[in-house]
Symmetry: C2
Subunit: 352 residues, 2 copies
């Protein structure tokens, strides 16, 4: 499909579903996220595990570069190696190289059968073991999201929902599989070798129940925003580092902001964790030093300081945690090549 | 996995299979193709349909840029938006921007069950209808390759193989599905709505038979090379244009090289057709004008003049068929940014 950069994700979903197709990127902010913004940040979301991020969907763009020239490559071919991948370069460039005006996006067939399962576990390592079993045993796996008891409590209080499990579980892993035929048996079979790691299981027996289970995950942002204005740090961690990171990040935040609460949730399937640090009392701000404390832990663990939100202004002073001087110098040369006057989004990405 | 650029694809396949994993790009030249060359050309091959091309597998590279600086980003995270995608930019740049020395590649779980089906049809439109039915009905579809009777005859004569079907079929579509469980029923069910378009079906009942069916496709290059030195043109076409292109390309080649034979085969799943024009008599060369005749037809049909081999030296004078002056100017600025002295592979890609 060819869409304007201002098209909102939810509208694109509706537009293409009539043809039995889907855009394979989806995210909780689908009602406000524009295609142009999703390209600028190389948006990820809940289906990256199976389909890749926005860059993997963008077959070509029309864009205005910094010198005013217009490039356009909207043929939509799956294999096309005629010069440099300008579309891929613009994707994730945060508006610093060009202004994307239209995009040609890959679509995938809509798979009619789905199952959503919420698995409760005693700890994060057990949730990771369940995810790995699902990933390796169920090719139909589309999403693997993780939330924790404190976040679930917040969501339940905010929305007036019942708890998802009869007995509380410290960690909850949401798994969604989709297929041409019902993928329930494939997913449950894949989980059977790790049955002893599972404390509780909720299997959605209807589409409505599936949406309810997703609410425990997707309402996190809204529920946390209701507490206060959070510092949001979108990071990726290697799976093997995730459990120890969770302990260390809480300790580190407590050392600089003892009054703050730290909520973690995110896309376990690709290691993408949203760290939300929020002060629960009005007027009790979270000090900015928290950002550096968290991002240094991420970098030390071999993670990425930006998973799917980009560097923007908030993280530009931390880019050197993630990239070498040689890389940043190469970025600057590419920036100068595409935007010689430096007029495009000049205050993001690069360290001051 | 992190591999050196000189690693050969087949060796990488063997190395990772011990972990139950696979590199998702595969191609007939697996015994000689190096990872560095596959990155330089953004190689495609037989599994792009399901897994994307080389760029989709490359999570990061180590490379020496034209100014001697070394960039390295080998952390291997699935979501990582910290600056420009240098790895994706180097991928498909044909050695003009940097020399890739190492790469971090995404792997996928090895799916143990597979089925290979060769479908014979009366014409290309029927083969396309079968492919579309398989693509939309069988999420386990990995490969959809097309060959024609003249190419099959050549392969059979060259290798001493029996014909694949009891009665000759003008077109043959090779479909491969892979899954955790046997995907045979899923594929055959997906094909049932187009049963009236199918003239013959060969279903591999063993892995050995599956490899035999693949030989009809993969031995095309070897069998054609045995006839003479072919002009090889690797192109992509929109599916809706493919049948008429096949007629037009044979007519057009006949008009400039009446003694030549034109063999088509390739990756139907992503529209990637290999056009091979060869003179069957020793000393009867195919005139170079054939290249332009074929590529102009491709461009007029909305196709790509290079699917998975890049522009190289052979197609540099045709780049303007595929890219606008503004795009080529942007390419030149990127080239100057990464290789200011113009020392890296200076004779490829750009028009003279």
């Amino acid at each position: 499909v060819t869409v304007g950069a201002g098209a909102v994700l939810e509208g694109v979903h509706r537009h293409v579903e009539a043809a039995g197709l889907e855009l394979a990127v989806d995210l909780a902010a689908r009602g406000t996220a524009t295609i142009g913004g999703m390209i600028a940040t190389n948006a990820g979301g809940t289906r990256v595990l199976r389909h890749g991020s926005m860059r993997a969907q963008v077959l070509g763009v029309e864009a205005v570069l910094g010198d005013g020239s217009i490039v356009s490559h909207l043929g939509g071919l799956l294999k096309d190696n005629t010069g440099y991948d300008l579309a891929g370069l613009l994707c994730g460039s945060e508006g610093t190289l060009g202004i994307v005006t239209r995009a040609r996006l890959r679509l995938v067939p809509s798979l009619p059968e789905r199952v959503v399962v919420l698995v409760g576990t005693a700890d994060l390592d057990a949730a990771i073991a369940c995810f790995v079993a699902a990933r390796d045993g169920a090719p139909s796996l589309e999403a693997a999201e993780v939330v924790f008891a404190d976040g679930i409590d917040l969501v339940c209080a905010h929305l007036g929902l019942a708890a998802p499990f009869p007995a509380p579980q410290p960690v909850a892993l949401l798994l969604e599989c989709r297929g041409r035929t019902d993928p329930t048996a494939e997913l449950l079979d894949a989980l059977s070798p790790v049955a002893d790691r599972i404390g509780a299981t909720a299997v959605a027996d209807s589409a409505a129940r599936g949406r309810e289970l997703w609410r425990y995950r997707e309402a996190h942002t809204e529920a946390i925003n209701a507490v206060g204005i959070p510092h949001k740090l979108d990071v990726t961690l290697p799976l093997r580092e995730m459990a120890s990171f969770r302990v260390r990040v809480r300790d580190a935040v407590a050392s600089v902001a003892p009054h703050a609460r730290t909520y973690l949730f995110g896309h376990l399937g690709d290691g993408n964790i949203h760290v939300n640090v929020v002060a629960p009392r009005r007027g009790a701000a979270v000090p900015d030093v928290v950002d550096g404390v968290v991002l240094e832990l991420v970098a030390a663990a071999g993670g990425s300081i930006s998973a799917e939100h980009g560097i923007g202004t908030a993280k530009r002073s931390y880019l050197r945690l993630a990239r070498s001087d040689a890389e940043i110098a190469a970025f600057r040369r590419v920036k100068a090549a595409m935007d010689p006057s430096g007029i495009l989004n000049p205050n993001v990405l690069f360290p001051q």
